[in-house]
């Protein structure tokens, strides 16, 4: 749909300055999901915005080469798989589905063994799954809709 526009200022500001900054901020929002305002959905939307900015500046054809469509479908499946893993892991350890009180996190930090550390870890697993799912699906929808009139 949109073609590459060759402008040094545009490419420098967008690709060298803004995209890494937005991605770093998105990962910060993901990692601080249980400590400060943040979480998987928000971080996914932020990182998807950065990836769409790459596609807008480079043009769809070149921009989509960075993360091709097959990889996006795999990412969406991996996100759902991580979520289901976070649900089934407590089931294996003898708790209910999605009840994280006994996830083993001895390597996590000095609070290991307490239920609150396990719950924090479980929530983090869930949010990573949601993050990958949201990023992949938002970018996939944009790619398909924007590339569809190209043929």
């Amino acid at each position: 749909m949109n073609e590459r526009y060759d402008s040094v200022i545009l490419h420098f500001i967008a690709r060298v300055f803004l995209v890494p900054l937005i991605i770093v901020f998105g990962i910060y929002v993901l990692l601080h999901g249980e400590l400060s305002p943040g979480g998987g959905f928000q971080a996914g939307a932020i990182v998807a915005a950065a990836l769409l900015l790459v596609r807008l500046t480079l043009g769809n054809r070149q921009g989509a080469l960075r993360i091709p469509q097959g990889l996006l479908i795999w990412l969406a499946c991996i996100g759902l798989g991580v979520y289901m893993f976070g649900g089934i892991l407590p089931l294996i350890l003898g708790d209910n589905f999605l009840d994280y009180a006994r996830i083993p996190v001895e390597w996590y930090n000095q609070f290991a063994g307490e239920p609150r550390t396990a719950r924090s870890m479980g929530i983090f697993i869930i949010e990573v799954g949601v993050f990958f799912g949201v990023v992949a699906v938002l970018v996939l929808i944009y790619d398909l809709l924007a590339g569809s009139s190209r043929q």
Partner: protein, 125 residues
Amino acid sequence: MIDEIAARFPYWATAVLLVVGLYGMMGKRSLVKQVIGLSIFQSAIILFFISGSLLEGATIPILYSVHGEGHANPDDFVNPLPHVLMLTAIVVGVAITGVALSFLVSIYREFGTLDERELLDEVRG
């Protein structure tokens, strides 16, 4: 008077947005404008829920007392449940808009138009 307006304003804005969205879905012939109306309707719902979560003199729902001393007073935080519901509703809304737009692309490729009446004429033959 001012107090009454300030207490009711989110509900009035919600009502206006709901009706604007409904008008977009009912009164417009272009399917793209109907999708835009759907999106406006959805943002009215989101505004209603978020305005329902507000609380006088409250702040964001982050419990800094968890890793520190003391107990959290529930009156200090806005109601977190509407935020959770709308957080998922926003992302699902984007997905719904994506699916609707993909249907529009498919319809345009098949019939060459996005006008409701022309589509009905074409389908009825």
